[in-house]
Symmetry: none
Subunit: 156 residues, 2 copies
DNA sequence: GCCGGCCATCCGCTGTAGCGGATAAGCCTG
DNA sequence: CAGGCTTATCCGCTACAGCGGATGGCCGGC
């Protein structure tokens, strides 16, 4: 059927795009990225609530987009984004810049570290950063000089 | 009917409460407060999208609560609240780990740490965790024992 | 070659979000 | 107190969110 021509509203199937982006962020290796079936399983295991593979496909392709509250919450819970990510474009724009971080959070230990680092004093944080930088050097990883990076306004 | 059979609804209809509160806030004079029919008209006029009086009643009485994205947006638009106002009821309690993390991510240094920790070896991560735990102890923060947490299904 | 698994995609079904059209019980004012 | 105007509440319907179960196309292994 003629796709894309019935767009009376500007929003289109933007929700599908967002979900696709989140999937790509969560499974960066495109080769080993799970299909909708596996993804559905992961969601059930991680959140305790299931979303069928069929429906996931329908969402990502924009075939369905008027999701209910429960589905919305489950998706947000799984991807680790605030639920309003799917509702408010400004929020999603802000979160998108942090997708890199979301990738990091895949690792459970990294999550623990982030949680534990919160609230510590500046000095301690600096020390931890120094240690991490040193460790990255030893383990031959990218220096990852994030502090130099600008928050880059994408024209708002 | 006997609604006691399904004990899953411990928080009743939190969404209905919220809508009721918003109505009361928007029309402070209880005497001149419009009924659901008038309210439905106001919503249509103000937002351009309609919500039937019947459905408004069903929402405020908690009969329906799994609203879709469009209804949610319309309500938020009309009442002038961010859409997430209707989203984080009891789920916020269940996913408070996520929330804690979101809060943590406000700190730029914590972000840097999370990014830098990604990709490091298990041993290094364990060392960092040990250091962080020690630091938390010294700075008198909560132990934050996330790893002990069970996946605990709260009666699905 | 064939078998088994994973994949995207489709079809058809069920449950329920959401609505329109009753109804009866409150009100006004003449 | 009749008759009109609202109100909250109910019932039954339609549309669609969401799912289960096909289907056929691609892989790798025996």
């Amino acid at each position: 059927m003629d796709p894309g021509k019935h767009a009376a509203e500007r929003s289109e199937s933007e929700l599908g795009q967002k979900i696709n982006r989140l999937i790509a962020a969560m499974y960066p290796d495109e080769r080993s990225r799970p299909g909708f079936a596996k993804l559905s399983q992961h969601i059930r295991e991680a959140t305790g609530t299931a979303i069928s593979s069929t429906y996931l496909w329908e969402l990502t392709t924009g075939r369905k987009q008027n999701v209910t509250r429960s589905t919305l919450t489950t998706l947000a819970k799984f991807f680790g984004v605030p639920p309003e990510y799917f509702l408010d474009d400004r929020v999603s724009a802000r979160v998108d810049t942090q997708l890199e971080l979301a990738v990091a959070l895949r690792n459970r230990k990294v999550r623990s570290i982030a949680l534990r680092a919160d609230g510590l004093s500046e000095e301690t944080l600096n020390s931890i950063l120094a240690i991490l930088n040193h460790a990255r050097e030893i383990e031959k990883l990218d220096p990852l000089d994030e502090d130099n990076r600008q928050p880059s306004e994408p024209s708002a």
